[in-house]
Amino acid sequence: MAFLELRNVSKGYTSSKGFTSVLKEVNLQIEEGEFVAIVGYSGAGKTTLISLLAGLIKPDSGQVLMNGKVIEGADPERGLVFQNYSLLPWLTVYENIRLAVDEVFPQWSSEGRDIHTMKYIQMVNLTHAKDRYPKELSGGMRQRVSVARALSMTPKVLLLDEPLSALDALTRATLQDEIKNIWEGEKKTVLLITNDVDEGILLADRIIPLSAGPGATLGDSVPVNIPRPRDRKTINHIPEFKEIRKRVNGYLLGGALKPKIKIEKKLILPAIEPEDLDLPRQRLGVPRRAVRTNEIKKETVEL
């Protein structure tokens, strides 16, 4: 039995334009201690997928299971690191993490919780910044706080929702190493959502591509059998790296499903007849106006 599982899960949204299917018949199985990366386009439904696993939203059909039990709502045993950090701006680094610790370990003494909080601040190298507010931190530092907050709840699974996509390349590399070290140190189950195939190959045990939405679904998983520790400088010379990259990109670029996106464009062709200056400025209280006869054209573009 898989540790974390999605069974035939579908999810969509109803808006004023009608129903849009985001995920369709998604199946996913993650074993305990595994590091899985899901790679997909922006807007493919990656955040929806992770929100389902976190329990923030419920599937329209199918089941989300952990340890064979249906997930009912969010729970600290699944630590979630948000794409946009989601730190509370009125709390300092310490207070943001302490809030989580207080909530998950109410039975501990105040000192115990303090030591625990400081341990995780130390783990992401932010001890010097513990009394700073999020707005005083760089993007990379904020994301480290977010990771520390998730880890401090000692979750069984760590869900990372594109944690590094908003960061510059250098900070990204540093944080990738930190995530790798934390995973190796804590041996947690990790699900990483990313739009960067290389990042997935560097970190994960296997990579699952997510096809483009609407109605996205997961492809076959690609195992990453490159031995650890993996070195980012040499890894892209390994033939296996290229092979995995080819397979994942091949699926994403439409080898399997050929996803098509249709965009409807509205074109407005302006046509304004000039004012007729022979007419009086006002007639029966109605002012003289230029006549607009705008033509609206619709055009469908397929990408």
């Binding site: 969010a74 699944r78 009125w90 809030l99 709840m153």
Partner: protein, 263 residues
């Protein structure tokens, strides 16, 4: 440094002074046309006593100007507090529950534009049996009129809380009270304070009307009394003081508001 200082002097002292001088000239011109309006010099002479002895009490309606102002501010303060105590939670309910909004928004929109002059008599009826009907009626009028900006701004603030913060509360499984105090209230504070500032402005507007109806000591009552006695210099004095106090209160509130904006 000195250039900056000069610019500040010009922007905050010299230019406003130009406005004041224009205003006084306009006032003097107006005096030369009508007989009843006292000119600035006459006004100053007539009101000297109230300004030089600002805290004196010679009789019920014959007190120093600051003493009157103090009485009014204390009444406004009490009414304003009542408005906040009722308005803030009401705003939270409106912001949190669509059901609540749909049910109560129409009635709020109808009650909101009602003038203080209309609320006061109702207050007198409501508190008829209390020991001091006119006092409670004033409190009632001030708080009912001043409540709405707080209610509406708080509601808007609650609705504007980013989904991310609510998701954090969900993932951490915060209890209801912790969600309220650690997430909802801090996230709404900037909006709440905007409401508080607007409410204070309205409370100060209402006080004059209320005191005129009530005819009791206070800056508005004094104004009305001076008018009845034909002492127009004091009417002008009152108008200036009311304006100054209102301005000061607004400045103070926007200072406090600014503190919370950054949070």
């Amino acid at each position: 440094m000195s250039e900056q200082f000069e610019k500040k002097m010009r922007d905050f002292l010299l230019l406003p002074l130009v406005g004041v001088i224009c205003f006084v000239i306009f006032w003097c011109l107006l005096c030369s046309v009508t007989d009843n309006l006292p000119n600035p010099v006459k006004m100053w002479k007539k009101s000297e006593l109230f300004i030089y002895e600002p805290f004196a009490k010679r009789g019920e309606m014959d007190q120093g100007i600051l003493r009157f102002t103090g009485l009014s501010i204390s009444l406004v303060g009490q009414g304003y507090l009542v408005a906040l105590v009722f308005g803030t939670p009401l705003g939270f309910f409106l912001g949190l529950s669509k059901f609540f909004t749909k049910s109560f928004d129409p009635i709020i929109q109808i009650l909101r534009p009602v003038s203080p002059l209309a609320w006061y008599p109702l207050g007198l009826v409501l508190f008829e049996l209390s020991p001091e009907p006119s006092y409670f009626a004033s409190l009632f009028t001030i708080s009912v009129c001043a409540m709405w900006p707080t209610v509406l701004n708080t509601a808007v603030g609650v609705r504007a809380i980013p989904q991310d913060y609510l998701n954090v509360a969900k993932v951490l499984k915060l209890s209801r009270s912790k969600t309220l105090f650690k997430v909802l209230i801090p996230a709404t504070l900037p909006y709440m304070f905007t409401g508080f500032r607007l409410s204070l402005g309205i409370a100060w507007l209402v006080i004059v009307a209320v005191e005129m109806l009530k005819g009791q000591p206070g800056i508005g009552g004094f104004l009305w009394d001076a008018y009845n006695a034909g002492n127009y210099s004091l009417v002008i004095l009152c108008i200036l003081v009311i304006g100054l106090v209102g301005f000061t209160l607004d400045r103070l509130m926007s200072l406090v508001e600014g503190k919370f904006k950054t949070a």
